[in-house]
Amino acid sequence: MNIGLQRIHTFAVKYFPLVILIAIWELLPALGIVSPDILPSILAIAVALIDLFASGTILEHMRVSLFRAFTGLGLAMVFGITAGVTMAWFMPVRIVLNPLIQMFYPMPKSALIPVVIIWFGIGDASKIVLVFLGCMLPMVVGTFNGARGVDRETIWSARSMGTGDFEMIWRILLPSAMPEILNGARTALALCFALLVSAELLISRHGLGFLIGNYNEIGDNTRMFAVILIFALIGYGADRLYLLLRGRTLAWMG
């Protein structure tokens, strides 16, 4: 088999399951096995999706959701990485923070939705805080594990070349920990959308999650599926972007 054919072959194998899924999806309502009200056809969903964009309805909600998700995630990364690396380097910080993290880590963060609503209202702030709290933990844990895993010889080498504390953290611990930090970031990325949609579904006046709930209530299932599809696309896009950045950042791993 030549290379061109092999590529097509690989491509076909890779996307075959997706094609099967779409085929079944189309067939079920078409054959009358499932009512189109419950499972609208892909074509109808695609039309609704284009319409949502064309009318501009979706854009404001998308802006709100993306702002909430990425502000929360961004803050979680900054605070999480700082906390993780500080814990790894300074024992007193580790002693204070470790028990808190171990207690908080297994708790489902969606349980905090009512709490953040009471404290921060139903607008942006509560969603950002929730995403921040949920995403911070995988960032802290990833950074901490990565920075603790740096072997002493690497640190000693840097020391013997005149590296001080701050520089050690910034130029040795962080780059060494980068693979684990990025693993944490991937978990956080998935978590940030999950938490955002839960919170917006439950109580909100804007955002894509609110829109899903809203279309559900008024019985417009085609549009509801269209918004869900947007989430799938955003999630997929974010993960692709993540993989691209990861590949660039970790080129040294060879």
Binding site: R152, E153, W156, S157, S160, G162, P175, S176, W252, G254
Partner: protein
């Protein structure tokens, strides 16, 4: 550097505290002096504390009992005067060869042209020309160790501490690197402390060999490797005799350690 560099170790003991179990006495009353531009090998069975002794000289571990002085100044922390090379290279894997070499160099108070020149010089010295922009993961073991040696030498430390630097390399590469190290030291003489468990390597490289006992580490013997002056002839009977003699000492200690102390 015109000034003299010597290391004095006096009555040094060190206890190691494992995470679980009882404290272990690793070094017991070590006294040793290393002269200026001398190459001394610390030879002993594994677990005898020779690396611990080296780390204490480097200032990486806290001194508990006794003293180490470099030119009469007590060692308390790592210093640029004491460069170190580890068995597993300890290169920064996210930096290229040239970035590794520049890491310490760029922190020295030197003009940029001087730093550029030094980096180039040491790249050439360890024959890594053409691999400046490679990451450590793309290099063979021997090349990694040469990069690590260049990184340390580029700082021009008066003292070179080497912790089984060729222990992770295959036999052929090791032989090649041993010859290369001697050639490099010929060009840039330094005071060297070299940890090894390889008797042949110790005799080949060192001016003096300190043979250590099994744990707790003591110095059993310090052998002068004077084999009639000039370059050492590994095929001479004197060389073979010296290796045999030292090997006897190491074997006895290894056996003693093996018989479950």
């Amino acid at each position: 550097m015109a000034e003299q560099t010597n290391i004095t170790v006096e009555n040094l003991s060190h206890t190691y505290m494992p995470p679980k179990g009882k404290p272990v006495l690793a070094l017991d009353g070590i006294t040793l002096s290393v002269k200026d531009k001398e190459f001394i090998a610390l030879l002993g069975p594994s677990g005898c504390g020779k690396s611990t002794l080296l780390y204490l000289m480097g200032g990486f571990l806290d001194i508990q009992d006794g003293q180490i002085r470099v030119n009469e100044t007590p060692v308390t922390e790592p210093s640029r005067d004491r460069g170190i090379v580890f068995q597993h290279f300890a290169l920064f894997p996210w930096k290229t060869v040239i970035q590794n070499i520049r890491f310490g160099l760029d922190k020295m108070n030197l003009a940029k042209s001087e730093r550029d020149e030094r980096a180039r010089y040491y790249i050439d010295l360890v024959q890594l020309h053409g691999f400046e922009d490679s990451f450590p993961s793309q290099l063979s073991g021997g090349m990694k160790q040469r990069a690590a040696i260049a990184r340390t030498l580029a700082m021009d430390p008066a003292i070179l501490l080497m912790d089984e630097p060729f222990g992770a390399l295959d036999a052929q590469t090791r032989m090649f690197m041993q010859a290369e190290l001697l050639a490099i030291l010929e060009k840039t003489p330094k005071t060297v402390v070299f940890v090894t468990h390889d008797v042949h390597e110790a005799v080949l490289l060192a001016d003096r060999v300190a043979v250590m006992s099994a744990r707790p580490g003591k110095i059993n013997e310090i052998a002068d490797i004077e084999l009639g002056g000039g370059p050492k002839d590994v095929k001479s009977p004197e060389f073979a005799e010296m290796v045999d003699h030292l090997w006897d000492g190491v074997r006895k200690e290894a056996l003693a350690a093996g018989q479950g102390r």
